[in-house]
Amino acid sequence: MCKVGIYLVCDYPDRSRFLEAIKLCDELGVDFLEIGIPFSDPTADGDTIERAALEVLEREGMDDFYDALKSAREIFNRKLYVMTYANVVYSNGIENFAKRFSFIDGVILADVPFRESKRFKDIFKKYGIGFVYFVTPETDFETLERIKASANDFIYFVSIRGTTGGEFCLDGDAINRLELLKESEQDVIIGFGIKTRNDVRKACKYADGVVIGTEAVKSLASDKLGEFLKSVID
């Protein structure tokens, strides 16, 4: 069983096509969704997602994203995550954010590494929102064990060095760490660079699932999300 998660930029390309995409993901059996709340300075994202996010930010704000996510929650029947950057959550108080978005299952903050995560994780936990940790091919083994022990949601394995949208590969360092994560109680999900069913199969030899972002955003922009999903989901 290999889970496939899809990342979409909130309200991209527009509200109605975004919500249609959510519906499609639900119907085609996508296992979980990550919805990106746009941030002005998305340093962990490559060109595709950055461009989409900045385009949405030109016309929308936090209240719009809240409405869109509320609707997405009603449409999508499996796990729903928010992926964004620390300041979007921090600026008006982490607790206020957690309270407002308590209907989501978990949160992923691209610029919050394990060592800075406590202040976020503890508050989200109070509202029943999971906090996703990252592991990379360079994560040291001591940190890896601590992450394994304290994870309360899936573990996001960053398969490549780089921003979103690069090429998928797993080197020795990556496989080494994935082997160690196998005994984790939480799912291990591989992200960054996954584009094809072949990538998915390769990743799932070592992990519980994958998340696909850039290719999903691209295919949605050209009205081909359905085709794309069918091409990657077994």
Binding site: D41, N87, S91, D111, P113, F114, F134, E138, R161
Partner: protein, 388 residues
């Protein structure tokens, strides 16, 4: 807590960069203990860069303002600004870490030039990111970087100023972290950058203190420096933090204090997270970083170093504002009265003292002239035509 100044600082970066930050911290520790490395840097400071830079008693300006003004002449440092203090130091750290490639961001171009200079000297490959707006308004520095052998990549995304350049440099670093060191140019970014940059820039304050004690036989009443990210200010303040000396950081007020028209982060912002650190930030009500403005490309940045946020909150440093037109006044006054053309960044410190002359009356003031103004002649010409 490690990596924090009070509640500010931290390491808000992708997990991928954590290893590189630890490696950098380790290299920095080794550097501080290594007598030979420190000697190498001191030799470069003295024989290559031209340290110590003079502390100059500006008699004409003093007479004009009715106070005793001393200028710390970082504009006389090789490559034209204080930035070289940091890039020479970090270039030696790069060698320590055995990395073969250096990247940097630049706004005014001074940090880019200083990085390209250090890279040329030490024979290391160098890539500099510069926003399109800045590349245009600070063209002389673009040309200098290319002459020095740097690969200057123009950023045509976002604000196309310093902030966009840092975004791209961070992305490059994530991709190439194994062979690349990112030389950040200010006391911003994730720990240990604010600590390292402050350490290398503290030479300014150490010298200034020794020099003023020798020349004026006393400590100054005030030390004034401009603050964008805040490296020249931290550098000069470090010499006087423990003394009974008033420290004043001057932010760019731009055209007005309406959000979007200025870069006065500490004066008008609130705490937020950008480029790896929790610090004051100019942002909208939802945490989106806003566009900022300053006539000076080096101050045109929505964030500020976390140590400044801490120094503001503790009250040890006072932060004021100098508007574009006041900075231009400072620029002209210093040029005409002392024959010193300051960088537009440094002109904010001068302009602040000029506009607050009543406050400074009778006091002994050190102003840090962080850089020289050759790079800004195009801006002046565009504003005032050829009849400057």
């Amino acid at each position: 807590m490690k990596g924090y100044y009070g509640e500010y600082g931290g390491q808000f970066v992708a997990e991928t960069l954590i290893g590189a930050l630890d490696e950098l911290e380790e290299a920095f520790k080794r550097f501080k203990k290594d007598r030979y490395a420190r000697k190498e840097l001191n030799d470069l400071f003295k024989n290559y860069a031209g340290r110590p830079t003079p502390l100059y008693y500006a008699k004409n300006l003093s007479d004009y303002l009715g106070c005793e003004v001393y200028l710390k002449r970082e504009d006389l440092l090789h490559s034209g600004a204080h930035k070289l203090n940091n890039t020479l130091g970090q270039a030696i750290l790069t060698k320590f870490m055995d990395k073969k490639r250096i990247i940097a961001e630049t706004g005014a171009g001074q940090h880019g030039v200083a990085t390209a200079t250090a890279a040329a000297l030490l024979g290391i490959e160098c890539v500099v990111y510069m926003g399109k707006v800045d590349a245009k308004r600070q063209r002389p520095n673009l040309l200098r970087m290319r002459l020095l052998g740097a690969d200057v990549r123009i950023v045509e995304k976002g604000s196309m100023t310093l902030k966009s350049a840092i975004n791209e440099a961070l992305r490059d670093w994530v991709r190439n972290v194994q062979n690349t060191h990112y030389i950040l140019g200010s006391v911003v970014g994730p720990y240990p950058f604010p600590e390292i940059v402050a350490y290398f820039q503290s030479v300014i304050g150490k010298e200034a203190k020794r020099q003023i004690l020798s020349q004026a036989k006393r400590l100054p009443d005030c030390v004034v420096a401009c603050v964008g990210g805040g490296s020249n200010a931290i550098g000069v303040f470090k010499g006087f933090l423990k003394d009974d000396v008033e420290l004043i950081g001057v932010e760019a007020g731009g055209e007005s204090l309406e959000l979007g028209r200025h870069s006065a982060t500490l004066t008008e912002g609130k705490p937020g997270i950008l480029h790896g650190a929790l610090s004051y930030l100019l942002q909208d009500e939802f945490g989106q970083v806003v566009n900022v403005h300053s006539i000076s490309a080096g101050l045109d940045y929505p964030g500020v170093g976390p140590e400044h946020s801490y120094l503001k909150n503790t009250g040890r440093v006072k932060y004021g504002v100098c508007f574009d037109n006041e900075a231009l006044e400072g620029f002209k006054v210093l040029s005409r009265l002392e024959g010193i053309i300051p960088a537009l960044e440094s002109a904010h410190a001068v302009g602040y003292v000029v506009k607050s002359r009543d406050y400074f009356k009778g006091k002994t003031v050190v102003i840090n002239i962080s850089g020289r103004g050759d790079k800004d002649l195009g801006i002046i010409e565009a504003l005032e035509g050829n009849g400057v």
